[in-house]
């Protein structure tokens, strides 16, 4: 039981809880409680708390269970809506950021490709000793197509990442 600090504490507590204390309790227990400080404390405290609960509980007014259930459903729905709205907001933000990043990447790649191509071109013209290399013709259209594919792939990857969230 609750208190084992005195061997009789458990018996006293059960006697209190069952309503047998004091009249229907054994005389030995009553005599012991009268002379035991631990049991005297226990009796004072447990009796006060138990009486408080017994008298107050029937007078306690709580909301009806149906009203509580309904309010819980409303609250749950509101929280789910708020969560969905937050997710959509985050997805919009992510798409805007992704668009900016991809646009910057395309511009950078285009400008870098031009530089690299010019450098390769000058290198190839400066190396006549390698006449057997296959001729590679990179047109601006090919460059734009490659960049576009890269951007499309980046979009798809970002979309999948956001959609998974």
């Amino acid at each position: 039981m609750m208190a084992n600090d005195c061997p009789h504490a458990g018996t006293l507590l059960e006697s209190l809880a069952s309503g047998r204390w004091p009249d229907s309790s054994p005389a030995e227990l009553r005599q012991h409680v009268a002379s035991c400080a631990v049991c005297a404390d226990l009796l004072l405290v447990a009796e006060a708390l138990l009486d408080d609960r017994r008298e107050s509980q029937p007078l306690t007014n709580v909301r009806p269970s149906g009203a509580v259930w309904w309010r819980m459903q409303m609250r749950e729905r509101a929280e789910e809506n708020a969560r969905a709205a937050r997710t959509v907001q985050q997805a919009h933000g992510a798409i805007i950021v992704a668009t900016v990043i991809v646009a910057a990447a395309v511009l950078s790649v285009t400008s870098l490709a031009k530089t690299v191509w010019s450098w390769l071109w000058s290198l190839s013209t400066a190396m006549p000793a390698l006449p057997d290399l296959p001729a590679v013709t990179i047109t601006p259209a090919l460059l734009v197509a490659a960049s576009g594919s890269l951007a499309a792939l980046a979009f798809v990857a970002l979309f999948l990442a956001v959609a998974r969230e």
């Binding site: 039981m1 405290v45 708390l49």
Partner: protein
């Protein structure tokens, strides 16, 4: 400890325990309402006594049931389910207390409001309420659970998050302190 064997303290019947023993991931309305009807009054009283504030107890009660429902865990038995509910309520009360007082160590100094009674025991209960207010929140929790609610040491440990070994000594000290306050007559009117 078989809680259904102590009349006057425990109100759960064996049938009620068995009826709700099969845990589901989320309670349906009928199960929830039956569980609420069995537990709301004891839980409200517990919250009211440990916070000393009836309005706060109302709010915490709603919140505790909502969080319990949302947690959606399956429980082995009615006892586990009830302990889980009381644990949630205890944590909410501690959070509320911390928000109000900045710590859970200080005793209550405000919001003491004894429940009205038909009998002439109001004075005695006011004394008890004021005496309880001088204790730390953890002491109030343990005393109420042990002596008003009839919880075992193990159940108190589960609800309060204190180890079972500590419950015994903490409860003993809290009981001594409350008895001393009640006897001393130092309770301000």
């Amino acid at each position: 400890m078989n809680t259904s064997t102590v009349p006057g303290v425990f109100t759960l019947s064996k049938e009620a325990i068995d009826a709700t023993a099969e845990g589901v991931s989320r309670m349906d309305e009928e199960t929830f309402r039956a569980f609420y009807d069995r537990t709301a009054r004891p839980l409200w009283l517990y919250l009211s006594r440990i916070t000393g504030d009836r309005q706060l107890a109302d709010d915490l009660l709603q919140d505790a049931y909502y969080r319990f429902y949302r947690a959606g865990d399956a429980y082995e038995s009615e006892h586990h389910r009830r302990n889980a509910l009381f644990r949630i309520a205890t944590n909410l009360a501690r959070d509320a207390y911390r928000r109000r007082h900045g710590t859970t160590e200080a005793p209550l100094t405000d919001g003491i409001s004894p429940v009205e009674s038909r009998s002439g025991a109001v004075e005695t209960r006011t004394d008890l309420t004021r005496a309880m207010a001088r204790l730390k929140p953890e002491q109030r929790e343990m005393l109420w659970l042990a002596y008003a609610h009839g919880s075992s040491h193990q159940e108190i440990a589960e609800i309060t998050g204190v180890t079972r070994a500590s419950v015994k000594s903490l409860l003993f000290r809290a009981r001594q302190q409350l008895a001393s306050i009640l006897r001393s007559g130092r309770i301000a009117p």
